[in-house]
């Protein structure tokens, strides 16, 4: 039996494997499959790359015309898919090799993580508004459950908070979808995009706002992101790394995909998003200055980076968009690195309070060094990958002669340095009484090390991959090409 | 050979001028105070007595070498100041130096000696050194500003060139650049350790200051270099403002005139505290200097 290697596997495979989990438990294949599934998907993505680079892959699974599931794998979504699955591999490997807490190595976690990956893949790939809602909810539900997995008070609290705010977001999003359908009679993204300009202005406005709030909560933009630090704090850092690395990226992609696709002239919406991004960035970085809890600090830092990416993508110029996509990738890598390192440190030092971390870097040199590397990368210091993407973004702004984002980005980076270096300093505080316990799970460093290697590699030689991002940016920005590809030349 | 003879002559001249001038100063001081005063050779006697003290206490190698450094600095300073213009004699090595170098050379020796003072371990000496350095800090600012005006006027730092430009009374620096002369006059007195600014070595206040531990032959060395250094400074100012001298008599005359002027100031003013002195330098002479700068550089009719 030959199975066609189509994008549908990105969704189908994790779902199938997740629901067959009792079998894997029996076969003791749970952990290998947790790594293997995203790895296989990553391999699939790499295999599809040449094809995607020539033309977007479209796939429609017809249930009954016009009902069906449209999947669309173009250069931009390919980046996201590859990223999501890579992150899945890393986190899976960390959970497997790192001897983490048992509840993360059980069947439930297995199912939820695979569901999360499937949901994210689906969101990125789908060409259909309602499916988008469905995948959004799949990802959402699995995320709520993942947060609460530890089942102690903080975890349950995080899960509940996440669930409440996430459901509200989903309702707003659903509302927007309903309105769109009622106005255009279509759910296919391309078809909606074609008809979107014919919707009356106020209704467009209303839809836009609903969409903005729904996705804004999910993408963690400023006035809607107050829940984030609580959730990141309550969840296991490895799970938080998935949120920050995968989930938000997928939502961000969706947000901009919709903006660039629906609006013939994304200028106004782009300006709004840039403004939101800038505010998100500055507010988050500022608030992070006072954080005494490692996980919260990383959460705020995530918010800041999301703001930066929003700012870059909102500008809608090829070079900033490519930079923004690149930064997405870098941020995922860095947050994987930081959160997983934080997981290691938390295991050794129990508390996440800054005061308890004094001297941790001296007691755990490798973890300390990795944390420092991640911090340097997240601040965009060369020769690490964060620098290359930031430079790309800044260059895009400079080319366009718009300098206020440059100033804000640099200001935010400075504020960011203010707290990251505070943590680094504390990590290397001279303190003699740090008990050096034998470190368990040395293998946990392997996936982190791979990520660190990638960060350095992408920082030193970003030219290896920059074509991908340029193509991704083009396909994200080029509305007509997408429409033509999906709907045919006549549309 | 000529160079050696010339150098020896310069050292000799400056030494003789030194003790005679200071002898004169003591005489004059006594007469002002209605005393007879010591003989004009008194400084020579004092100096020689110290040179022939049969015992000299040292506190260690650095203590010994300090006076040697200051003496060598004095010799070097003297040799880098041209005593005469248009003459082969009494030139030393002045064509290899310049005004700024001389100003700095004036400080080299004292700083070398300050090491000796420090190594003696006597806190009073170090206190004196600090006061000296503080005073130096105060006086150098207007002093150098005045010299800067002169350098600007002649567009050179070479003392020879400045001297050569002052042919005839009408071209003397004191005539062509009176402000600069006024600016440097008081700092000059201070740099000579003259009376209103002589708190550095005040016996009552800091127990003789930097010299507190020096006795015997080392003190003799210090006295000698002090006299020579004074003469070097006098000759320098003579060169810059009084047109230099073509022969030794004129030199002595001019330097003596200048000396009398500074002496007159010294004798009538009471001693200032260090910080008063510094504050004074930064107000009056420096203010005058700023005025000079405004007049010569900033105003539209100036070059």
């Amino acid at each position: 039996m030959t199975m066609p290697l189509t994008p549908v596997w990105f969704i189908a495979l994790p779902l199938l494997l997740a629901f067959a989990s009792p079998l894997w438990v029996r076969l003791r294949l749970l952990m290998p499959l947790l790594v293997g599934t995203p790895a296989a998907l990553l391999a699939l993505a790499l295999g599809l790359l040449p094809a995607v680079r020539t033309a977007p892959l479209l796939e429609t699974i017809v249930i009954a015309p016009p009902l069906g599931i449209h999947l669309q794998l173009d250069s931009a979504s390919w980046l996201l898919v590859a990223l999501i699955n890579f992150a899945g591999v890393v986190v899976g490997a960390f959970l497997w090799l790192g001897e983490t807490e048992p509840y993360l190595r059980e069947r439930r976690a297995f199912i939820l993580i695979l569901l999360l990956i499937a949901g994210c893949n689906g969101m990125v790939l789908t060409g259909d508004l309602f499916n988008l809602y469905v995948f959004l909810e799949i990802a959402g539900v699995s995320a709520y459950a993942l947060s609460a997995l530890r089942r102690d008070a903080p975890a349950l609290e995080a899960g509940l908070k996440y669930l409440i705010i996430g459901s509200v977001a989903a309702i707003f999003f659903l509302f927007a979808v309903v309105l769109i359908y009622l106005q255009t009679g279509n759910l296919s993204l391309a078809a909606v995009a074609r008809g979107f300009s014919e919707i009356p202005g106020p209704m467009q406005m209303l839809i836009g706002l609903l969409m903005l709030i729904g996705l804004g909560i999910k993408t963690e933009l400023f006035p809607f992101n107050f829940w984030v630090p609580d959730i990141y704090q309550g969840s296991h850092p490895a799970v938080a790394s998935l949120y920050s690395g995968i989930l938000v990226k997928a939502f961000l992609f969706v947000l901009f995909h919709l903006v660039f696709l629906f609006l013939a002239d994304p200028g106004v919406a782009g300006a709004w998003l840039m403004g939101l991004g800038a505010i998100t960035m500055l507010v988050a970085e500022t608030v992070a200055l006072r954080q005494e809890d490692l996980r919260r600090m990383l959460a705020y830092s995530s918010l800041g980076q999301i703001g930066l990416i929003t700012l870059a993508l909102g500008f809608g110029v090829e070079s900033t968009t490519a930079g923004g996509l690149f930064h997405m990738v870098n941020h995922t890598l860095v947050k994987l690195l930081l959160f997983l390192t934080a997981a290691i440190l938390l295991r050794s030092f129990v508390s996440a309070r800054i005061a308890d971390f004094a001297g941790a870097g001296r007691a755990r040199p490798l973890a300390g060094a990795l944390f420092v590397l991640g911090a340097l990368a997240v601040m965009g210091l060369p020769p690490l990958s964060g620098f290359a993407s930031k430079l790309w973004i800044l260059k895009g702004f400079a080319e366009a002669g718009v300098f206020w984002p440059v100033a804000l980005i640099l200001l935010a980076a400075l504020i960011e340095a203010g707290y990251y270096f505070r943590w680094i300093k504390v990590l290397y505080e001279p303190r003699t009484e740090v008990a050096i316990e034998p470190s368990e799970g040395r293998w946990a460093y392997l996936p982190i090390g791979v990520v660190a290697g990638l960060i350095v590699l992408l920082g030193v030689a970003p030219f290896l991959v920059d074509d991908l991002f340029i193509e991704g940016a083009r396909s994200l920005l080029d509305r007509t090409a997408t429409l033509v590809a999906v709907l045919g030349a006549g549309s | 050979m000529h160079a050696i003879l010339d150098s020896l002559a310069m050292i000799g001249v400056s030494y003789i001028m030194g003790f005679l001038f200071y002898g004169f100063y003591r005489q004059l001081n006594a007469r002002v105070q209605r005393r007879w005063g010591p003989s004009i050779w008194q400084n020579f006697f004092d100096n020689m007595k110290f040179f022939f003290k049969s015992e000299t206490l040292v506190h260690g190698p650095m203590f010994f070498f300090g006076p040697m450094i200051i003496m060598a600095g004095a010799f070097t300073t003297v040799l880098f100041v041209p005593f005469l213009k248009d003459s082969n004699w009494l030139q030393g090595y002045s064509q290899y130096g310049n005004l700024i170098l001389i100003i700095y050379l004036l400080v080299v020796g004292p700083l070398g000696n300050a090491l000796a003072v420090g190594s003696s371990g006597n806190p009073f000496g170090v206190m004196g050194v600090t006061r000296g350095l503080t005073r130096l800090m105060g006086l150098e600012v207007p002093f150098f500003l005045g010299l800067g005006l002169v350098m600007l006027q002649h567009e050179t730092t070479s003392v020879h060139a400045i001297m050569a430009a002052q042919d005839g009374l009408a071209h003397w620096g004191i005539v062509t650049n009176p402000i600069a002369f006024c600016v440097i006059l008081l700092p000059f007195i201070a740099s000579q350790n003259g009376s209103p600014f002589d708190v550095v070595g005040a016996p009552v206040e800091v127990y003789a200051g930097p010299r507190v531990e020096f006795g015997g032959r080392l003190l003799g060395v210090l006295m000698t270099q002090n006299m020579m250094m004074s003469i070097a400074k006098l000759v320098l100012v003579t060169d810059l403002f009084l047109g230099g001298a073509t022969n030794i008599l004129v030199l002595i005359l001019k330097a003596f005139a200048l000396f009398v002027l500074t002496t007159a100031v010294s004798m009538v003013f009471p001693r200032l505290r260090t910080e008063q002195a510094v504050d004074f330098f930064w107000k009056v002479p420096l203010g005058l200097g700023v005025l000079g700068v405004i007049l010569t550089v900033w105003l539209p009719w100036s070059a």
Binding site: R290, F403, F463 | Y104, N122, F124, G148, W282
Partner: protein
């Protein structure tokens, strides 16, 4: 194994030297779409590379002492790599990359010291990153103007553009060199850094700011003159810069005098020295730039020497405060000579090259007719004598004030070898002031299209305003010294060695070990009574930055209040935003 690693590391520290000798090419490395690094060695960069080549191995040698701190060594290697990249940069991207690598690796090295405090490390990294980000902003403006990252003069920029560039770049470099309102990171970090690394911080890293400033001048068609025309005989924009430099020098000098800790004193003195360099750059003439480069060279040598000597003292005595040291001259004679030569160079005294450098700057100020600046600079450089004296008196002379100082031994050889080398270099440069001009500085000036200073021989320093002969000066002085000492010893009479350090003339009293005889920390305290100095010492820009930090934290608390609520608040906020935007749209006529 460890020996091989150490040898390898030492070889790494020689890499700037190798680069200086062997580099004759051009290397490019594509980074991104449209962004490439191009590496070339310009004469200006070569001059600063020379400084790095001097500093790197001399600092590496003491760092290699057992037990080696491997992370430090690795970071030091990264630092060297970054600085070489910075110097080789032919375009701003590689310049910036080098700059940033230098920043973070030096920061991490700073953390290796057990004494570093949070405030220190934070101020170090924040100021340096602010500098880096200003630089990046400037680079972006530059890129916006020219469409390329290559370092080359602007063609026909308008005045606002020039001003924007000059401000951004200028501020970046001024932070790095640590001029006045931006200096507060310097003293703390130089003080608390690992003792040996302080030498490198002061000698090499601060010079990169100087390099940047001179590089900045080359970006504009007419350097500083093009910006706001001329004032008297120099560039008007430079007049401002020069005052910044001089005021920095004055304030830092007084702060240095009032310090009670050796390394902090040296830190303030570094600020002051770099202030002179800033002034010289501000004057911008060929004489002044020559002076600036010369000062940079001398300052590198001198600060290496002083910091390494001081590191040796700290290592052997465990003390770093002036009050706790004293009378080390008998126990650490070589270090004594190191510090002695160092302070002579620092004070700019004639036989050593510090004088040549200062001479050039003074003359350039006279040439530019900026006499007030000249006076201000003299104020600072004569006041510097006081802290120079303090620096040699308090540790080496006077009385030993702690057990550590009483029982110290001479520093180990890895500390002494660099000192001896540096002393020899300083001495040689002092005797041949023209050597540095002709071999090191003139090529740079020629490359910058300025008149070379020239000179008839290596012994002579020549300017249009007159010069001096180092060989004659040195021989006269040495002859005089030998003669005087010889004659003195010919005089008859006994020399009597004092019976003990306490054999002092002390108003008939008998001082003992308990008597407070050491004047170390108190030295210069009475300067406070001078109104101007008192005013300077009473004021600090630290309060401003503390206030800024407080305000930032307050803002963080305020904004953090949003994040402290419960889900209902969050939803309410979202709904309110929704309603407000909708309402606004309705009011403005959208719906």
């Amino acid at each position: 194994m460890s020996l091989i690693l150490k040898l390898f590391f030492f070889a790494v520290s020689l890499s700037p030297t190798a680069l200086l000798m062997g580099w004759d090419g051009h290397l490019t490395w594509t980074l991104l779409d449209g962004v490439g690094l191009s590496l070339t060695l310009t004469p200006l960069a070569a001059f600063f590379l020379l400084l790095l080549a001097l500093a790197a191995p001399l600092v590496a040698l003491p760092m290699l002492r057992r037990p080696a701190d491997w992370p430090s060594l690795a970071l030091y290697a990264a630092l060297l790599a970054g600085m070489q990249l910075l110097l080789l940069a032919g375009d701003f991207v590689s310049f910036f990359i080098g700059w940033e690598i230098m920043t973070w690796s030096s920061y991490l090295l700073l953390l290796r010291s057990p004494r570093t405090e949070m405030a220190t490390s934070q101020s170090y990294i924040l100021f340096n990153l602010a500098s880096a980000f200003l630089l990046l902003a400037g680079i972006m403006v530059f890129y916006g103007l020219t469409g390329s990252f290559d370092i080359r003069p602007l063609v026909g920029p308008t005045q606002p553009q020039q001003l924007a560039l000059a401000l951004l770049f200028g501020l970046a470099f001024l932070i790095k060199v640590g001029t006045l309102p931006l200096h507060i990171w310097v003293p703390r970090s130089y003080d608390e850094a690992p003792d040996i690394f302080s030498a490198f911080l002061s000698a090499a890293i601060s010079k990169m700011g100087v390099y940047g400033m001179i590089l900045l001048l080359t970006l504009f068609p007419e350097a500083l003159t093009g910006l706001y025309g001329r004032l008297l005989n120099g560039p008007a924009a430079g007049y401002l810069l020069a005052w910044v430099g001089v005021i920095t020098a004055i304030v830092a000098t007084y702060k240095a005098i009032s310090q009670e800790d050796m390394k902090r004193l040296l830190a303030y003195s570094s600020i002051a020295q770099v202030g002179y360099i800033t002034t010289a750059v501000g004057v911008g003439s060929s004489l002044a730039l020559g002076g600036a480069l010369y000062l940079a060279l001398v300052h590198t040598l001198v600060k290496l020497l002083l910091f390494i000597s001081v590191a040796g003292i700290v290592l052997q005595t465990g003390q770093r405060r002036f009050n706790d040291l004293g009378r080390l001259i008998e126990r650490m004679p070589i270090s004594f000579f190191g510090v002695l030569i160092g302070i002579i160079g620092l004070a700019g005294m004639p036989p050593l090259p510090g004088f040549a450098a200062k001479y050039l700057v003074f003359v350039s100020l006279v040439d530019a007719r900026w006499l007030l600046l000249l006076a201000a600079m003299i104020l600072s450089s004569t006041a510097a004598f006081i802290y120079c004296y303090k620096l040699i008196y308090a540790p080496f002379l006077g009385h030993a004030n702690s057990a550590g100082a009483r029982e110290a031994k001479e520093a180990p050889w890895p500390y002494l070898v660099p000192q001896v080398i540096l002393m020899a270099l300083l001495f040689g440069l002092g005797v041949f002031p023209g050597f540095a001009i002709e071999v090191l500085i003139d090529p740079v000036l020629t490359a910058l299209r300025m008149a070379p200073l020239g000179g008839s021989s290596w012994a002579v320093l020549t300017t249009a305003y007159g010069g001096y002969d180092g060989v004659v000066l040195m021989s006269v002085f040495v002859t005089a010294f030998v003669l005087v000492t010889g004659l003195f010893l010919l005089l008859r009479g006994r020399m009597r060695r004092a019976g003990s350090p306490y054999d002092l003339s002390y108003a008939g009293e008998v001082p003992t070990e308990e008597t407070p005889l050491h004047y170390g920390a108190g030295m210069g305290r009475e300067l406070r009574r001078i109104p101007l100095v008192g005013w300077i010492l009473r004021h600090s820009s630290q309060g401003f930055y503390l206030g800024l930090t407080r305000q930032m934290r307050a803002a963080a608390g305020l904004l953090g209040g949003f994040y402290a609520g419960n889900p209902q608040t969050w939803i309410l906020l979202a709904v309110v935003v929704f309603a407000v935007v909708l309402g606004l749209q309705a009011v403005t006529g959208g719906i």
